[in-house]
Amino acid sequence: MRIFTAALVALMFAMGAAARPKDEAPQYKTAETKHFTTAEGVELSPAFVDYFYAELRNELTKAKLVKEVIGEGEGVEDADAPKSLVISGTVTEYKKGSVVKSSLIGFGAGLRSLKMDADVVRRSDNQNLCLIHVHVKIDPRWNEKVMAKGAAHEVVKEMKKALAEGAKPTTGEATKPS
């Protein structure tokens, strides 16, 4: 009976493994992420930009969108350039939010908000592959780094969608209340 149960479990695992779709090879070889710039009037700490850069690279690696995520300013072999991406962008708006408004009014009032634009270009000819607009909202009590995490996740999600669809401008909007 025990042997039969063990065999049944092993068979189920084997069937599950066979049914799972195989990992497709990424379409692009490398992606270089640049530090995002901040528009005039955006009051974010310099540490935010560094953290967002790290998070964006982390999310790109997790998404398996490209074979390799390289750092800012790193070189790529000439043969790989047509299959390489460069991601840059700007934080266009940042609102600190208000804890009082958020607690008293609720319904999205007083949330901390961040808007950013990201450009994805092909390295070889600088052709714009997609333009991403992201709007992230979080509870004002949360750290701005949490917002960076959400924004990076949203940028990669939209990028994946846009590259799959084929170079159409997309707009992503994310709200992460407490």
């Binding site: 750092g71 790193e74 070189g75 780094k145």
Partner: protein, 227 residues
């Protein structure tokens, strides 16, 4: 009256002792101390450098800590602390030397080197993150100098890594160690495979072919950055 004065003095002395005891003892108790169980060893990984047209021989002259961190060995203060077993400058030097040596780009001594590197380390270890994970960051700037012409150029490099947070101390230490190793590998790679280094090597090689009549003014080394 003299008795009152003595009483006041003794009261003041007593309160001073009590307050000093209250303020200093907990702080001393909270201050983490390096022990074998809370010390991590960072093992640099080999990073293959980029290919140069005419591969130069590098020599690492000096690595200076410009982070302004009073405790460079202390990586994390919370939960009993996490310490490095070596100074960040020594780890950084090991990482660069190992990678250059493996690619046969390291000179035997300063005299035989085509380019001399002076590294200024701005950040090594953990940086403030989202509190949900560990954010490792290694940032440095290098002055690449041609001993023949005296000309120098600056090359900047940054490496980052995000690792998951952990509840157990053992896992936390492991994650911190892996995180710093990843950030160090990333920074070394950013330097050795960066376009800035390629351009600097090409420019300095051109300069050393034609020796200038007047030596160029030395470039000022990078200054301490606010943390």
């Amino acid at each position: 009256m003299p008795l009152r004065g003595t009483l006041r003095l003794s009261n003041a002395f007593l309160s001073l002792v009590v307050f000093s005891g209250l303020t200093t003892h907990p702080a001393q108790a909270d201050e983490p101390k390096p022990k074998p169980e809370n010390t991590i060893t960072i093992q640099p990984e080999l990073v293959p450098p980029q290919k140069f047209e005419r591969p130069p021989k590098f020599w690492i002259a000096d690595i200076t800590d410009r982070s302004g961190n009073p405790q460079p060995l202390l990586v994390m203060k919370e939960r009993g602390g996490v310490f490095l077993d070596k100074q960040p400058t020594a780890i950084m030097k090991d990482a660069l030397e190992q990678s250059l040596k493996a690619a046969n780009l390291l000179a035997a001594d300063a005299a035989s080197a085509d380019l001399v590197l002076r590294v200024y380390l701005f950040h090594f270890g953990l940086a403030s993150g989202s509190a949900l994970d560990f954010f490792g960051k290694v940032e440095f700037s290098t002055m690449v100098k041609s001993p023949k012409t005296g000309e120098s150029l600056e090359v900047q490099a940054i490496g980052t890594s995000i690792a998951n947070g952990a509840m157990r101390k053992k896992n936390m230490q492991k994650n911190v160690e892996e995180n710093i190793e990843a950030a160090l590998r990333d920074a070394t790679r950013n330097f050795l495979r960066g376009r800035q280094l390629k351009e600097a090597v090409a420019t300095l090689a051109k300069g050393s072919d034609v020796v200038p009549a007047v030596a160029p003014a030395p470039v000022e080394p990078p200054k301490l950055r606010p943390r």
